[in-house]
Amino acid sequence: MTSGYAVVAVMVVVLGTILVGAYGLRVSRTTSDFYVASRTVSPWWNASAIGGEYLSAASFVGIAGLIFAYGPDMLWFPVGYTAGYLVLLTMVAAPLRRSGAYTLPDFAEARFRSRVVRGVASSLALAIGWLYLLPQLEGAGLTLNTVTGAPDWAGALVVTVVVTVNVMSGGMRSITFVQAFQYWLKLTAITVPIIFLVAVWQVRGADSLTEPEFPSFRQDTEVSFQRQATIHAEQEIVIRGTGVVDGERLEDRELLLTSGYHRIDGGSKFTFPKDAPVPHLSTMAHNTNESWSLPASSGADFPLYGAYSLIIATFLGTMGLPHVIVRFYTNPNGTAARRTTLIVLGLLSVFYLMPPIYGALGRVYTPELLMTGQTDAVVLVLPTRMIDGIGGQLLGALVAGGAFAAFLSTSSGLVVSLAGVLSQDVLRLGGVRGFRISAVLACLVPLAMTFVSTTMPVADMVGLAFAVAASSLCPLLLLGIWSPKTTTIGAVAGMLAGGVPALTAGLVTMFTDTGDSWYEILLSRPAAWTVPLGFTVMYVVSLATQKHVPAGVQRTMVKLHAPENLGLDGSGSSSSGQERS
């Protein structure tokens, strides 16, 4: 898997990011032509930038990995990540822009005129941002591990350092054009290889991807186990190599792996024979390629609950992501905000056509990942596995570069928006210095968390961040925008009632081993119960506290919903305004 070209690609992306960060401002418009300089960002550029920042590790490597391992149930991830923008478009985009808010806490303050609501929204935005940064770092670790064999923490460290240096040096702040470029880079990096891979697959006779057989090794394959794994073999296999199986030490000799469960210790290295069915991790279901391709094949308990929880979290969580929201400020007005969101919807739709193909091809060409558990690596490994020689190496390098670009751009966006919240609401340090200190802090917390979290698929972790956003900030936005009855107390109660349980559930699944307990699914997919809880509490408490409707709510509603060009602000006509003051 280790490939010189891929290392070069990753380094090019890292260096490119640093250089663009350092010199980026000079590339931005320097001119004496005011007409050029004061042109606002067009919806196309802005939408590309949102896409570039949004398509994270979860999208680039995680989705393909989950589909590869668990089948079509996981298709709800890409669908949900996209449909989230439809909800954002129809319910939030224009009013949010019109509120004049730059961050979500700003919106909370603008709508409720309360520092308390602002404070709660800030803390939740911070928590969501950190939950979302964590999988980016883990994904970076995985990528670097796959292409260079470096330890897992190295990638996380590289991303942290690059992003911190970059944000601190003032570069990559939130330069729209750089992030817009990132979208097209990622789209290229995921699309070009897949065209070749599908072509190769067709040329080689287009093996069916859904045979009623277990995935099998296409050639004698040497597999190294990074960490301990409990695997399930469907049939007896003769393996050869060095390592520890079920507590028995083997030194370069053969072993008959009986069908059933076996524990293989980390550091083991075995060669599996051609055509043998691939054993899989004990946490996955016993699927043939055919049964894998059917719904509810993931083998999870309560698959229907899981699916709906995922749907709710992703559909409603997008609007609560701190780095997505700040981009809307760049739109000149509410109408442009809507058009931007529509374009984002299109851009994401194109991108998300690709990951499922990687996942499906992986069943045939890289089945051993089912056994090592590094399912997220399927996108990275597939090109070199399917295409021999330099061609495969170059495509692999392209994918690795794209993946790294994904971690860097999403992390930068997150760190910038988190640093904003930290400097404004927590540290209360203004200016450049405050921003820098906050940026360092924003990076360090998730880096520390990577060392203590349990291994968990990248996309699943992102799903938890979405669940917290959907249960706390989504009710705040939706009810705040559309119901003038929402009160300050209701807003705070609702955000806490939805956000705290979701956050707790997320942290428990990430940092402890809940194993097979019946409530495991309630914790790892909390949205289905925390989202209704958040909405209900916010609405009911608001109705019960109608005396505390924030002052001037009528004016706020005018501001949120009236088109800008009418000059409406509900602040009294110009003449009477002057008389009063």
Binding site: A83, L304, T335, R338, M557, P563
Partner: protein, 117 residues
């Protein structure tokens, strides 16, 4: 005894206030204007959202009730794959496009409503 035409004391017909002014002065009438706009946009947003997302959300239930549906094949793809990988995305974009068009239309209508009383 002072006598004038009764018209002297009749209330003078005034030019009607524009909606813009009513809204800016936060009169009851202005509130009615705003309620109408917000109500229309909320209805539009919710219906686009609920129809699209609701249709999507029915799928897991369908596949659970009738597992045979999962084996059905369209263009060589399993039905769930076809629906979730291919069919959904154009549908989402289409729904979004429809919403943007309608929302902008109702804003134009509103602008006409308040600027020309």
């Amino acid at each position: 005894m002072v006598v004038t035409s009764p018209r002297t004391r009749a209330p003078r017909a005034r030019r009607p206030y524009s909606g813009t002014r009513e809204i800016n002065e936060q009169s009851e009438l202005g509130a009615v204007y705003m309620r109408t706009l917000i109500g229309a946009q909320r209805r539009l947003g919710l219906s686009v959202c609920l129809v699209t997302c609701g249709a999507l959300a029915l799928l897991p239930l369908l596949f659970t009730i009738e597992p045979e549906l999962g084996k059905f094949r369209v263009f060589g793809l399993g039905l769930p794959w076809f629906l979730l990988c291919l069919a959904t995305f154009p549908m989402l974009v289409l729904a979004g496009w429809f919403y943007v068009r309608q929302a902008e239309r109702s804003e134009r209508e509103f602008a006409e409503l308040v600027e020309r009383p």
